[in-house]
């Protein structure tokens, strides 16, 4: 199995520990991996701004960098959704190579559960964890049930976390409301963006969250920015970091 | 002028049509929600939307029950379109202009059946001289056979739409929540709704 790591551009530069946690998890489950060094960005910032001509070269680059791998794994639902669901306008149905790459791009929890059939993480993590359901993972990739739809679906990330010893979860008032990051929205609509983030943080504070986690660092960058500015006592970790850390504290026998 | 607009609009639409897609079959029963006891469900839902349902054996039982309601007895202007139910103070046949119904306090009208899933009652204008009576009285009584269908699909399965200039579903008394989302019963229409479900009629 030839696996490539796709580490989103801002994670590469600002949250290397999330990439390293992903590496640890893949190592633990015996997956050989590579990091194709030419990778940069999937093009989401441009595409979400409506600038499709500007996003195009990055989509072409992505496909070029990642062709030939069996799986491409990323610790980000948002970037995976961009590749899988929003590359349509750049490729035709005949672009088999491109469409293969798109199909083979997986979000981390999806890869662990649906490809590697991981059902539990044998390890310990003692804290009250608050789960932030990042929207694109939830409503684009369907990595869990959205509160609007009346279909039972399991949240892959929540299931993995729940299998860890010693972990408990805070109970939120609004289980999957958007954090307000939204890419350029965070700056273009700064007032609403920050109010949304503040509301999420307050929900977690009231629910007793000690560690705030999510599948996307972009949401967490925004929420952490607010938490740190307000000096709240909440630690922010990508779920890959929690899983990786749990593995280093094995369950007592 | 209008004719040309019609032609232009239709031509514009024709030029813009998407690929045809199928119209889903909607059976009147089968895949839809049903209830163990539709009558009980009907009463519960009607209650939750501010109405009350009384099941009675006969029209005369409905009549007796109605006469035991204080608001009915104290109402000044009472009308009834249901023979044998209520002691009206005004004869509907004597009214020539619906505006004269402005001061009706209480009206007794016909309904056809109820819908369990939403507490609605099907009413039609052939059972009453002025349809405004469903909306203008301060309080409303609907007398109907104790027949309840499970859901709206079943409901539409048993009625013929288009037979009446006016027909409709009524679910509870009139209400609004337009001021700070506080529910107030009695917006423009009836302030209360009592439904007599009559077994003998069923």
């Amino acid at each position: 199995m030839k696996v490539a790591l796709f580490i989103p551009c801002y994670v590469d530069q600002f949250y290397p520990q999330v990439g390293m946690a992903t590496v640890k998890l893949l190592d633990h489950f015996g997956v050989q991996h590579e990091f194709p060094k030419a990778q940069t960005c999937c093009g989401q910032p441009m595409a979400n701004s409506g600038c499709m001509p500007e996003a195009r070269p990055l989509a072409l680059k992505y496909v070029d960098v990642f062709k030939g791998y069996d799986y491409i794994v990323a610790p980000s639902g948002s970037c995976v959704s961009m590749v899988r669901n929003h590359y349509e306008s750049f490729f035709t149905e005949e672009d088999h190579a491109a469409n293969e790459v798109r199909k083979r791009t997986y979000e981390l929890s999806e890869f662990l559960v649906n490809v590697l059939n991981v059902t539990e993480i044998k390890g310990r993590f003692e804290s009250t964890v608050g789960i932030h359901q990042s929207c694109h993972g939830l409503r684009e990739l369907r990595l869990g049930p959205s509160s609007e739809t009346m279909k039972p679906r399991k949240s892959l990330m929540a299931n993995l976390l729940a299998s860890i010893d010693g972990i408990s979860f805070s109970k939120l008032q609004r289980i999957d409301e958007c954090c307000g990051f939204g890419g350029t929205f965070a700056v273009a609509e700064e007032a609403v963006s920050c109010m949304m983030g503040e509301d999420r943080v307050n929900d977690h504070l009231a629910a007793g969250t000690k560690v705030l986690t999510a599948g996307d660092m972009s949401c967490l960058m925004h929420l952490e920015g607010i938490i740190r500015r307000r000096k709240h006592d909440i630690k922010v970790m990508h779920f890959a970091e929690i899983l990786a850390e749990a593995l280093t504290s094995p369950v007592a026998v | 002028m209008t004719a040309t607009t019609r032609e232009t609009v239709l031509a514009n639409l024709r030029a813009a049509l998407p690929e045809s897609s199928p119209l889903p079959e909607l059976p009147t029963s089968g895949p839809w929600q049903t209830f163990e006891d539709p009558f009980v469900r009907f009463c519960e839902v009607l209650d939750s939307v501010g109405g009350t349902c009384c099941r009675v054996k006969s029209l005369s039982d409905a009549h007796q029950q109605l006469l035991s309601i204080d608001e009915w007895n104290s109402a000044k202007v009472r009308v009834s379109a249901v023979n044998g139910v209520g002691d009206p103070t005004v004869d509907l046949n004597s009214i020539d202009d619906p505006h004269d119904l402005e001061n009706v306090d209480y009206a007794v009208l016909h309904g056809h059946f109820g819908v369990a899933e939403n507490g609605a009652i099907w009413v039609t204008d052939d059972t009453v001289k002025y349809r405004v009576l469903y909306f203008i009285p301060q309080r409303l009584v609907i007398v109907m056979p104790s027949q309840i269908v499970h859901n709206m699909h079943e409901a539409y399965g048993r009625i013929t739409i288009g037979e009446h200039a006016f027909a409709g579903f009524i679910s509870g008394p009139s209400k609004t929540a337009d001021i700070e989302q506080s529910l107030v019963i009695g917006a423009h229409g009836a302030r209360s709704l009592i439904v007599f479900a009559v077994d003998d009629l069923a």
Binding site: C9, D12, Q13, F14, Y15, P16, K37, T40, C41, S49, G50, C51, C135, M150, C178, G180, F181, G182, F185, V187, A188, E189, E190, V192, S193, M195, D199, E224, I226 | T5, L10, N12, A15, A16, E19, S20, S21, P22, L23, P24, A120, F135, M152, H153, A155, G162, A165, A167, F169, S174, K175, T176, D178, E180, Q181, S182, V184, A187, H188, G189
Partner: protein
């Protein structure tokens, strides 16, 4: 003005913005409970979507069928290409009947056509009879929500308004008392009206009739007394069969307000004895939307307002920040399609969270359309220079791996060494209320290479 500016104003009054958010979230939660009580909820949504898509694909046929059936029932059917023509038609009908006093129930279409100011200018008395609409009318405002027109107004403000216009007690703010006052005030209008105007929720092609849904009973009161009923509908309101109503009536009120059905679901087929019924079929841009494949599904909207209630941005910026008859997610598609220049910020008042898409009873892919709308504006060169230039720059930078890693490392170094006041300057929109990430010394790609070196793996 732009959405961000008006939204900023709204958020500046934090307690009020929070109150607004909670009021709408409460409605969303009621909707969730109601949706959950129907086991086939998701199937209903799929059916509703399929019925609408099918209808779109044969819209002219169904409209003609509807017209023929309605005429056979004795209805006068009119066609209007735009709002002006719609208003003129109403003016002509009213004139013919010598009708001066008009009562109107809620109709987003007449709002869209700006019927009220038109009629008032022409000397008619127009009274909006839906309580919420009456409140905004008396306050000389527009509705801020399509189902809850006065959701932005506090009861104390309604009290003040009613004190001024209806003579209620000064300082009174009890919703029950105020509703009662409006009931008395509007009864007089109902009883003296010459004509009643309503919207249309659903028009049935196979029968030539239409359905109007209200909770207050105002539409029915408004058209059951006067000798003239005018019903205004957008072309997209037609559905093929009466049995389709089962699907839509099951979805509409549950999605809109969390009720099992509206109090009154009235089916009109032909005029009342001794009176006239007119139906106006209005295009006003709809055929243009049908012609745009990426946006045509927006014509399936049944105006339930659920996408507004769930939208985290709408809840925190208020309906008026959209400066559009239909606000929120669906409005941010429909309005820029008509007036892209004036409304170019609307599709960006959205995080693409997708909650609207999942809540929509007709399964309109709202957030995908909002994304597509951004591309539509780009193609019309309406994104604004600074956005376009920065995206061009970013695209260039990210296309080259070397430039990207160099810039990344420079940014991290700068962030580590720059003094706080230089980073958190007024130009830094991010930093006004948020910290920037703490930059690591080494990027992931550097750490990965180190890791491989240490473990003897090829990097």
């Amino acid at each position: 003005m732009s959405h961000p500016t008006l939204a900023q104003d709204f958020v500046d009054n934090k307690p009020r913005a929070q109150w607004h958010d909670k009021a709408l979230w409460f409605v969303r939660e009621k909707r969730d409970r109601m949706a959950a009580s129907v086991p086939e909820w998701e199937d209903l949504r799929s059916h509703a979507s399929a019925i609408k898509m099918h209808t779109m694909s044969q819209l002219p046929t169904y409209l003609e069928m509807f017209e023929a059936k309605a005429k056979a029932l004795g209805v006068h059917v009119h066609w209007a290409a735009d709002g002006d023509e719609h208003n003129r038609i109403i003016h002509d009908i009213l004139q013919k009947h010598n009708a001066k006093k008009v009562v109107k129930s809620k109709s987003m279409l007449t709002e869209e056509c700006h019927l009220n100011p038109f009629l008032e200018k022409n000397g008619y008395e127009v009274v909006d009879t839906d309580l919420g609409e009456r409140i905004v009318q008396l306050r000389e405002e527009t509705p801020s929500h399509i189902v809850l027109p006065a959701i932005h107004i506090k009861k104390e403000e309604v009290g003040e308004c009613f004190h001024k216009h209806l003579g209620t007690e000064k300082g009174a703010s009890d919703p029950k008392y105020l509703t009662e006052a409006a009931r008395g005030h509007l009864r007089e209008r109902f009883c003296s009206a010459d004509a009643g105007i309503t919207g249309v929720n659903f028009a049935i092609a196979e029968t030539g009739g239409f359905v109007v849904c209200t909770n207050e009973g105002n539409a029915d009161l408004g058209v059951s007394l006067p000798k003239l009923h005018i019903a205004c509908m957008g072309l997209e309101k037609v559905i093929p069969r009466a049995s389709d109503l089962a699907v839509f009536l099951r979805l509409l009120a549950r999605s809109a307000t969390g009720q099992p059905i509206t109090t009154y679901s009235s089916h009109f087929h032909g005029p009342r004895e001794g009176s006239e019924l007119h139906i106006i079929l209005v295009d006003n841009g709809r055929s243009g939307i049908l012609a745009k494949p990426e946006f045509r599904r927006s014509l399936g909207c049944i105006r339930c307002g659920a996408c507004m209630n769930t939208c985290p941005v709408y809840r925190r910026s208020g309906g008026h920040s959209y400066e559009s008859t239909v606000p929120g997610p669906i409005g941010s598609i429909l309005t820029p399609l008509r007036t892209p220049e004036q409304h170019s910020t609307l599709p960006f008042a959205c995080t693409l969270c997708g909650s609207c898409t999942d809540v929509c009873p007709v399964k309109i892919d709202l957030h995908h359309q909002l994304l597509a709308m951004r591309g539509f504006l780009d193609r019309k060169k309406l994104l604004g220079m600074s956005k376009k230039m920065s995206m061009k720059f970013l695209s260039g930078l990210l296309s080259s791996t070397w430039m990207f890693t160099t810039a990344g490392s420079a940014a991290r170094t700068a962030l580590r060494w720059m003094p706080r006041f230089a980073i958190y300057n007024p130009l830094n929109g991010w930093g006004k209320q948020r910290e920037l990430p703490e930059p690591p010394k080494k990027s992931f790609r550097e750490q990965y290479a180190d890791n491989n070196k240490n473990s003897g793996r090829p990097s």
